[in-house]
């Protein structure tokens, strides 16, 4: 159903469709990758580990890079 409404997928803009991988869940907070696609938000910091490759791809689309160059800890 999500794939029928590509314009509503928030994170990656126009999205071709969801595959099996998109049903993956974050082991810490149970947020699915599909949910991240839909509203652009993750559930916890572990989502950044679980969905790292997809999130990095999204960051490149949004910011042109996935490498932080600002303030460090």
């Amino acid at each position: 159903m999500l794939a029928d409404q590509p314009e509503q997928l928030g994170l990656f803009g126009k999205f071709e469709g969801l595959g099996v991988d998109d049903l993956a869940l974050c082991p810490s907070c149970s947020t699915s990758l599909a949910q991240v696609y839909v509203d652009g938000r993750v559930g916890c910091e572990q989502c950044y580990v679980a969905f790292r490759d997809d999130i990095k791809r999204a960051l490149v689309m949004i910011h042109g890079t996935s490498r932080h160059t600002g303030k460090t800890l």
């Binding site: 652009g40 938000r41 910091e45 303030k71």
Partner: protein, 367 residues
């Protein structure tokens, strides 16, 4: 010290105002205010939109304890507001003063705003992220706002373990904010660019510098009045100071364009301008009721008139005060049951509020 109320902001427009509203400031003929916001999360906790009440309470306690441990010379004493314990009017006042957001005041329990006595600093607890540090100053002062936000952030980072990844930066609930977690925004008033049909070209130039444009009350806001928020889109791949510099450059460009457009209007269409301003004065004089949108439009025209030398008395101070006194927040946070009543109340008090404030300014001028 924790308070459930916010006396300074609970009045009806005649009380104390946040200090970002006071006095003249750099480029304040166009730039109403500058705001810097940093998003941080406490490591080991789910983010607010996924958290249970127990989890939200635990994070809130951690953050409140941390904030009350640090003592910042430049910030001074801080007051903690339990959002859930505030009245609807107090919540609206917080939104109108841009000390917090509509989603934050609607989110339920364990939401807090920690504000300084000047109401230029607010640390929001359990907004979209666990912590949002926000500093708002009058006019174009994005760099000064950043320095204060950075100082508060450094104090927080000393007290709390935050979610951070060496490659991705600060980890935020919204993937788009990940990296610096920084939003720098300026609120600008550009009526002459609208009147000269140059607004679209100006926004195109702003977009080319990676700046986004939103309405007066943020994302999705439809309220007009030629007031816009311009902010950075990119939160990764540059430094905080570079981002501040970019938005400052956009604001400086907008100010120059708007000032140029005002000059052109005055030179080429002085009679039309006089007519537009007088028409707004008549509308205000005769109004018994005024919608939020009409209120912003009238205010915008009277402000433009003042800057062009017409006798409207809508100075920097009056403009900023009445913008906060519009109580647009009321409209956005009222429950469906209360909305019609609250909107009616605000619409009927608005024209008198405007007239009284302008009259007071005129009296002060004459004295």
């Amino acid at each position: 010290m924790r308070h459930s109320g916010l006396s300074a902001l609970s009045g009806t427009g005649s009380g104390k105002h946040p200090s970002w509203i006071h006095g003249s400031a750099p480029l304040s003929d166009v730039v109403i205010s500058s705001r810097v916001r940093l998003a941080r999360n406490v490591t080991g906790n789910v983010f607010p939109h996924r958290a249970t009440e127990v989890e939200s309470a635990r994070v809130a306690k951690q953050v409140l304890n941390a904030v009350h441990r640090f003592n910042l010379r430049t910030v001074g004493s801080l007051q903690t507001l339990d959002i859930d314990a505030l009245s609807g009017q107090q919540k609206a006042a917080l939104v109108d003063s841009h000390l917090t957001s509509v989603p934050h005041v609607l989110a339920g329990k364990h939401r807090y705003a920690i504000v300084d006595h000047k109401h230029t600093v607010s640390v929001l607890v359990n907004e979209e992220d666990h912590i949002r540090v926000q500093v708002i100053l009058p006019g174009l002062q994005a760099e000064a706002a950043w320095r204060t936000a950075d100082e508060i952030d450094n104090a927080l980072l000393r007290e709390l373990p935050v979610a951070y990844d060496p490659e991705l930066g600060f980890l935020t609930a919204s993937v788009a904010n990940c990296g610096m977690g920084l939003r720098v925004s300026v609120m600008v008033h550009v009526p002459a660019l609208t009147l000269t049909n140059r607004l679209d070209a100006t926004w195109t130039a702003a977009h080319s510098l990676d700046a986004a444009v939103r309405g007066l009350y943020g994302e999705g806001s439809q309220i007009g009045g030629n007031i816009y928020q311009v902010s950075n889109v990119v939160s990764m791949g540059s430094t905080e100071l570079q981002t501040v510099g970019k938005i400052t450059a956009v604001a400086t460009y907008l100010q120059a364009e708007e000032a140029g457009a005002r000059e052109i209007l005055l030179k080429t269409q002085p009679d039309e301008m006089q007519q537009i301003v007088e028409s707004a004065q008549v509308t205000l004089r005769d109004a018994e009721r005024m919608s939020l949108d009409e209120g912003v439009r009238v205010l915008s025209t009277l402000r433009l008139g003042h800057l062009m030398g017409f006798d409207t008395c809508v100075t920097d101070q009056v403009f900023a005060e009445l913008l906060a006194g519009l109580r647009g927040g009321t409209q956005m946070i009222a429950s469906p049951d209360d909305r019609a009543r609250d909107i009616f109340y605000q619409e009927t008090r608005r024209p008198a509020l405007f007239r009284n404030r302008i009259r007071a300014e005129r009296g002060a001028d004459a004295a």
